[in-house]
């Protein structure tokens, strides 16, 4: 085993200094290194955002879901994930395994980001691959087996994330043929994860006691901290997606911050009006909704448009989430209500508000005289939904039939922290 591994290692080794650094722009490299680090921080940010919303007895298991996914995907991405997503294209459907183990990724510029080292681009994209399945964990929190999460994340990133990322960004059909715009992952990250979350919620079933007894967040200060780290990290997510440090990154930074703020205000005010009290959980959820919605649009719309996109994201996601108790399933932490609603609104909003006057490399949206973009956006959204739904259903069903998805009722009552991890979050 070790021999084989070492042989592989020798064969694949990239050399950091063999290429002249000529093409590399150190400033763009710095910005993308920082952005990759910021997106990595979003994963624990998400873990805390989710962790505060569950009951005390499940806090560690919820933190673990995101954390172990970060770990698994980080390794898997180096092995085959990056190559499948961004490797040399096959029929606009999937990348080849040529870059398995990052083989051949020597000291060269990234094909997709010619001013930065290839490895930086690999890492930046790897963080996106990690956070997407982590988002899904909100749907099955408080009742899933830890082993099922491990298996799910390997299968889902390989079979769902990698193809969709390839279609949109890696030279595949949505980006190249359809021409839909997705600046930083509205489709790939948010809609994709929301659909898988819906499937998960249906297949796994409701939490015991759902809608019968109060299931309230155990620590909203943790959720607040998580949301703040998400906002902070999202600057890397969106402005980093400019792949260079210039006017485009500046625009994406501006729209990101403005939409996050507007999203929080939208949710706060609609909740104040309809429920008489503006909640802190609402405000931070609204900020996340705004961030989700601006993601596909960040580099294509003006600051003023981002206010509108954010405000509406806050309102729409509030309504989406409020609807949940009337639908049958238990999407515990509202992945569909926030990432599904917000992501879809954002993808469509890009088709409305995008403007070549803002970014000539983009396209005009419906409000700027080009309804066709809206249609393209719709195609991208629908294709992702269908593909993701079918594949995710398959994956969750297979796991359920084999190792099982759900813990026993006794373990659910005891809490996942004790039953799955033999630990308790607090001993205050």
């Amino acid at each position: 085993m070790l021999r084989v591994f070492l042989l592989l290692t020798v064969a694949f080794i990239p050399s950091v200094a063999s290429g002249a650094d000529g093409d590399i722009n150190a400033a763009d490299t710095t910005w993308l290194l920082v952005s990759a680090a910021l997106v990595m921080l979003m994963v624990p940010g998400l873990a805390l955002f989710y962790g505060g919303m569950v009951r005390r007895k499940n806090v560690l298991s919820t933190l673990m879901h995101s954390f172990i996914i970060l770990c698994i995907v980080s390794v898997l991405w180096v092995l085959w994930g990056y190559s499948l997503s961004f490797g040399p294209d096959f029929w606009m459907i999937i990348g080849s395994l040529k870059w398995f183990g990052l083989r051949g990724i020597v000291s060269e510029a990234a094909p997709a980001a010619p001013t930065v080292p290839h490895l930086v681009f690999v890492m930046f994209q790897g963080m996106f691959a990690a956070i997407t399945p982590a988002l899904i964990t909100g749907a099955f929190a408080e009742r899933i087996k830890f082993s099922a999460v491990v298996v799910f994340s390997v299968l889902w990133v390989t079979l769902v994330y990698a193809p969709v990322a390839h279609w949109v960004w890696g030279g595949g059909w949505i980006g190249e043929k359809v021409g839909a715009l997705d600046f930083a992952g509205g489709t790939v990250v948010h809609i994709n994860s929301a659909i898988a979350a819906l499937v998960a919620a249906i297949v796994v079933g409701r939490r015991k006691g759902y809608l019968e007894e109060p299931i309230v967040p155990h620590n909203l200060t943790m959720t607040f901290l998580g949301a703040s780290l998400l906002w902070f990290g999202w600057f890397g997510f969106n402005a980093g997606s400019a792949l260079s440090a210039g006017h485009l990154a500046a625009l994406a930074f501006t729209t990101t911050n403005t939409a996050a703020a507007s999203g929080a205000l939208g949710w706060t005010f609609i909740e104040w009006i309809l429920k008489r009290r503006p909640t802190a959980l609402g405000a931070v959820s609204g900020a996340v909704a705004g961030l989700v919605a601006i993601t596909p649009a960040a580099g294509y719309v003006s600051a003023l448009s981002s206010i509108l996109i954010g405000l509406l994201a806050g309102v729409l996601c509030f309504l989406g989430v409020s609807l949940k108790p009337r639908l049958g399933y238990d999407d515990s932490l509202d992945v569909l209500g926030i990432h599904g609603v917000g992501g879809t609104w954002g993808a469509l909003a890009t088709g409305l508000f995008a403007s070549t006057a803002v970014n000539p490399a983009g396209a005009n949206g419906m409000f700027f005289g080009n309804p066709s973009l809206f249609l393209k956006q719709l195609i991208g959204v629908v294709a992702t939904i269908i593909f993701c739904f079918v594949l995710s259903l398959l994956i969750f069903k297979v796991i359920d039939w084999t190792i099982g998805l759900r813990v026993s009722e006794e373990d659910e009552i005891k809490g996942l922290d004790l039953s799955q991890h033999g630990e308790e979050g607090y001993s205050l």
């Binding site: 005891k414 033999g422 630990e423």
Partner: protein, 112 residues
């Protein structure tokens, strides 16, 4: 008057409260406790070292009732808190010499 107290499982609290309300109990007090009994605890592992945790989280409810209602309340608690498994808990009944409602100064039965 008697004070009926019961140590029960956490997730039974809501059921017990509802059942008691249904038979006319209008007040109770709840305390978070840790119980130690026949029900075995669980193992926790920290950095490879195992600890046996013997004290399990439970809730204790305290309900003051007039003498004539004691049996009914006992029955209600037993029915609503029972799962049939070890660790369902215990009920303890004390004599209450006096009850006072602070707001009004009422005493005895009126104060319950």
């Amino acid at each position: 008057m008697k004070m009926v107290t019961a140590v029960i499982k956490h997730y039974k609290l809501d059921e017990v409260r509802k059942a008691l309300t249904d038979v006319g109990v209008q007040g109770m007090t709840v305390v978070e406790v840790k119980g130690f009994g026949r029900q075995k605890g669980h193992l926790e592992v920290y950095r490879g070292v195992e600890y046996e945790v013997r004290f399990l989280p439970k809730v204790k409810i305290e309900v003051a009732v007039p003498d004539e209602k004691v049996e009914e309340v006992l029955q209600v608690i037993m029915d609503s808190a029972r799962t049939g498994e070890i660790g369902d808990g215990k009920i303890f009944v004390y004599d209450l010499e006096e009850v006072v409602r602070i707001r009004t100064g009422e005493r005895g039965h009126q104060a319950i």
